[in-house]
Amino acid sequence: MDRKEYLKTDYKNLKVIKTEILFTPLLIIFPLIIAGSLISDWYLRGYVQGNSSAFEGELILGIIILIGNILFDIPFIKSLTHYKRK
């Protein structure tokens, strides 16, 4: 990846790192909650009530959001812990 494409700050970089750390829980937890809500809605209003075909779109969307976010969150968290260790 091209590391030159991002704006840099040197001595002031604590501010931006704080911004990043502040948003991290929201970036990671919120999509998981939404994915869980979509899947549980499919289960409770669809599968349990014998109407799963009407809600299977929600199930697929829930799985897509879950996989999509895990796919990008893992390297993001790794890079963050990598920075913290430094």
């Binding site: 990846m1 809500s37 979509l38 969307l61 990008f72 890079s79």
Partner: protein, 225 residues
């Protein structure tokens, strides 16, 4: 002298680490956007519908004002993490991203809006990552298939011909939108709006020709009281 050299080395390492973070931060931020489709889960009652119109509008307005202040130098760019070099003197991609989602929420049916949002939130970073890693030009073929898949999910309950037409047009629109980046119009906006307008034409035409349109994918939750 040795201490100064060591300090410079440490600072350089920190900056390099920051670059790496910025890359994955942007990717994670993109993926996070997919969860905004919870908008369609909100209960269908008057006061919630009122909030559904105005809350996203004011959030986007806040982002636009913040960007204007940054560009005018009233707010330091140090508060904005992960901005790209070309965004230093123009509106940041996140504002285009937010404006695109706002337009989709307010003016398009969810059968069009949801796959377009998924294209921007998941299709765009996947295409970007594959391009970064493999540098393949034909990565757009994969991008097209991925975006097409999102449109299939949204339209699979309609007539098969209509579903195929919508997913091909949506996939092509998303990839074309992804490739277009102008000084004042970002690909994060185009990847959402180009397929949305193309599909709006399909949506209106399908009604005219008597095709059965797909039903909503996400059903609003009921109020617990």
């Amino acid at each position: 002298m040795v201490k100064v050299a060591e300090k410079i080395k440490n600072t350089r390492e920190k900056i390099n680490a920051l670059d790496f973070d910025a890359h994955w931060y942007r990717r994670a931020f993109h993926a996070f956007g997919a969860s905004l489709i919870f908008y369609y889960m909100l209960p269908d009652v008057d006061w919630v519908n009122f909030l559904k119109i105005w809350v996203p509008f004011f959030i986007v307005l806040f982002a636009i004002i913040l960007e204007i202040l940054r560009l005018k130098g009233k707010v330091s760019k140090d508060h904005f993490f992960g901005l790209r070099m070309y965004e230093e003197k123009r509106i940041g991609s996140y504002v285009f991203f937010a404006v695109g989602i706002l337009i989709l929420f307010e003016f398009f049916p969810q059968q069009i809006a949801i796959p377009c949002i998924l294209c921007a939130c998941l299709g765009d970073p996947v295409i970007g990552e594959l391009r970064h890693r493999f540098g393949m030009r034909h990565v757009y073929v994969f991008g097209f298939l991925l975006c097409m898949f999102f449109f299939v999910i949204a339209w699979y309950k309609s007539d098969v011909k209509l579903m195929l037409l919508a997913s091909v047009i949506g996939g092509v629109g998303a990839v074309v939108g992804e490739t277009k980046k102008f000084q004042w119009l970002d690909d994060d906006f185009m990847i959402q709006i180009v397929p949305a307008f193309l599909l709006l034409i399909v949506w209106i035409s399908a009604q005219h020709f008597g095709f059965g349109l797909p039903g909503p994918i996400i059903h609003p939750l009921e109020m617990p009281w």
